[in-house]
Amino acid sequence: MPSIRNQIRELRAQRNLTQQELADQVGVTRQTVIAMEQDKYSPSLETAFRVARVLEVPLEECFQYEPRDGGRRSIKEERQRVSKP
């Protein structure tokens, strides 16, 4: 399972969009929308932005990053880890 979760299904339902309509507007196949909604596929950054734009929400409202270790690291630890050369 990818560590990126999303709210595409909920946001799409709120806007009464079908999977096919969303797929057409984003420019992907319906199967890709299904895979994203099931958290089986993490889209590229460009596609993620396009999905958020079609659903009219900020990117972080549509996609959330959940580390595989369950987010046990604190923000300080994460910053230290990222800043290491």
Binding site: V28, T29, T32, I34, A35, K40, Y41, P43, S44, T47
Partner: protein, 141 residues
């Protein structure tokens, strides 16, 4: 097949074409000739062209996206690894038989045998590539 994308349909068609055309190649291995191999290559091209044309005609939405390209790359990776493995094993066997003096290169059938073996490697790799792509689609990726 309403739940299949255009790319998936073309992959199933490719797999059917490969099995129909190459199946006899493996079953009737000992009766292979150069003409037969050439006929098989021609046959797969014609059958693929017909099947892909029919699928393109009956499929309205022929969109392909980044996931299709990713799955295609995965298939090519699986196919390449298979081909590389078979080549290493094949060359190893060749070297083994050559050092044991059991390689009758003067035999006129040796060339056909090599042609058969290397063509078989390509066929197996191609089938692995197609199957890997189908499995990736069925597993969502």
């Amino acid at each position: 097949m309403p739940s299949l994308s255009y790319r998936e349909k073309t992959l199933y068609a490719s797999l059917v074409a490969e099995l129909v055309v190459y199946g006899p190649y493996f079953v009737l291995h000992r009766q292979n000739t150069v003409n037969k191999v050439a006929g098989m290559i021609l046959g797969i091209i014609v059958l693929q062209a017909v099947l892909q044309s029919v699928i393109a005609l009956v499929t309205r939405n022929r969109v392909t996206d980044e996931r299709d390209r990713l799955i295609e790359l995965r298939g090519y990776r699986a196919g390449y690894l298979t081909l590389a493995t078979l080549m290493v094993v094949g060359l190893g066997l060749l070297w083994f038989h050559a050092t044991m003096g059991r390689l009758p290169l003067e035999n006129r059938w040796a060339a056909l045998h090599f042609l058969s073996v290397f063509f078989g490697m390509l066929v197996i790799s191609d089938i692995v590539k197609t199957v890997a792509q189908i499995v990736s689609y069925r597993r969502a990726l």
